[in-house]
Symmetry: C2
Subunit: 297 residues, 2 copies
């Protein structure tokens, strides 16, 4: 694996079918799952590590976002990455961008409503990675379900010839979805945070038992979070996977999303539903059997 | 030359260094100059013909915009085009785009102020052509000076590895800048329309004689247009070539632009100034010695 700092070096180091996994670094097993998925179908696997200031709001945690490049290099290499792209800010933003890229009403709700400007920042940086690296495939985690929808739509709307590949959420053995932000959780927070996945899993089981009403599914998440100490629920909602509009009935591909503040840390999670002719398939994510790589930082 | 309808076919037909010249068809010598410039430095020359509905306002001339594909094919082939990309609307917009791409204050003035949404439509379609064709170079006429600035900035802001090559305006022997819309001019309009280039040329001569004040240069255009019958001036302005902000003094690369309604037809024109350490170079455009190809439609 080589580490490079410019788009030109990424292109020079790439051959054949290029698979790209964009990250903000501080890698966890969720990122490693992206890299392994990319490895399986690509000649060159490119991973990027860039903490994108444009997607953080003024009151968000840009300055405390965790960073550890040496650790990221080691983990990326082990997971099969060929080219680690770690651009300095001057490469990504040689001038402050004047462009704004807005994906219509896909960002009206949920994370888009609570993090003004967040998805515009995501859209610009992902468009830059796509334009500058020209991958054939790009790998995004399902945990950021609204981001996945935004990236999919941007790809279609800008005619990028790129296959967007969603990768299942990776969870600790107890169900907690992996996130770089988990490292900010205290031991008490960590216990309380399990209410998110527990609520989602209860709703997933209800779907498998035939429940289709958004309100019923949402109530299960609300109840689970309400029963835990020290969590402030922001939303629990069933949403159309493509349009990211609230969905009252599970009649099309969707995700059930939750966002909550656990202690000082804001967490999101979801389960995804794929609606077939006679049945609904649930993607709860993949549960790690051993300790996650976040444990040995 | 082959004519293709899909991005995938353009990519399949392209090899080596690809040069792209986007057009709305109804080709004139200005377009042919783009194709010849592309031919000189490219292995594969791709020209697109697409009348982009997104860049026309509700009161603009989308429905009467002239079209003649057979003629375009003949002229493009003669000028060295290898691949003519003529996408149907379903290829360019398989779904109505939700994306909006705005290039900040570059579109606050001039054409941007008078044609709301125009440059957002241009930015989306050019971004699609760049993303879907992945050219190494792209060729744009200087006549659309604000469009050139918008495309340049979009290219930087989205990290497209594409060289944007400006090509001088092509003019009829009497100075009229070529435009597909010239075909709507009556004989009287045609005579009146010469006031635009005459005003710009007078200002260009003044710059060569040492004039640097924007107001003085603008006044020469205003006077020339004011002396002609049947023209309604919209603006005459000196603008920064990069930021497209009004410029009071010719101290950096700039263009002097004019827009006017001549009879029923809206025309724009400009001359470009390149400011060096001790002198200013003027690009008035290239004057045709014979009749333009628009004459033999």
């Amino acid at each position: 694996m080589i580490t490079v700092a410019t788009f030109a070096d990424v292109r020079a180091a790439s051959a054949g079918r290029v698979g790209l996994a964009p990250t903000m670094g501080y890698l966890h097993d969720g990122h490693l799952a992206l890299f392994r998925a990319a490895r399986a179908g690509s000649d060159t696997v490119v991973a990027s590590v860039f903490v994108n200031p444009l997607q953080f709001g003024p009151n968000e945690d840009l300055s405390r976002y965790p960073r550890d490049l040496e650790r990221d290099q080691r983990l990326a290499e082990q997971a099969g990455v060929d080219v680690l792209f770690v651009p300095p800010a001057e490469e990504m933003y040689p001038v402050l961008p004047k462009i704004s890229v807005i994906i219509g009403d896909l960002t009206d709700h949920f994370e888009g409503a609570r993090r003004p400007g967040h998805f515009a920042g995501v859209a610009v940086v992902v468009a830059k990675l796509f334009a500058g690296i020209q991958p054939a495939g790009a790998f995004f985690g399902r945990k950021d379900a609204q981001q996945l929808a935004v990236v999919r739509r941007m790809t279609v709307d800008l005619s990028f010839p790129i296959e967007i590949v969603p990768v299942s959420t990776v969870r600790e053995a107890d169900g907690l979805a992996l996130s770089s932000r988990n490292r900010f959780l205290t031991a008490d927070d960590r216990r309380s945070a399990l209410a998110l996945s527990q609520g989602l899993f209860a709703a997933a089981a209800a779907v498998e038992a035939g429940e289709r009403a958004g309100s019923a599914l949402e109530a299960m998440v609300v109840d689970a979070v309400g029963a835990a100490a020290g969590i402030e629920l922001e939303y629990a909602a069933l949403a159309d996977a493509e349009t990211v509009q609230p969905l009252s009935e599970l009649t099309r591909d969707a995700f059930l999303a939750v966002a909550a503040r656990v202690g000082e840390t804001r967490l999101i999670d979801n389960v995804a539903f794929s609606v077939g002719a006679d049945s609904v398939t649930v993607d709860r994510g993949d549960i790690l059997t051993g300790p996650s790589v976040l444990e040995d930082v």
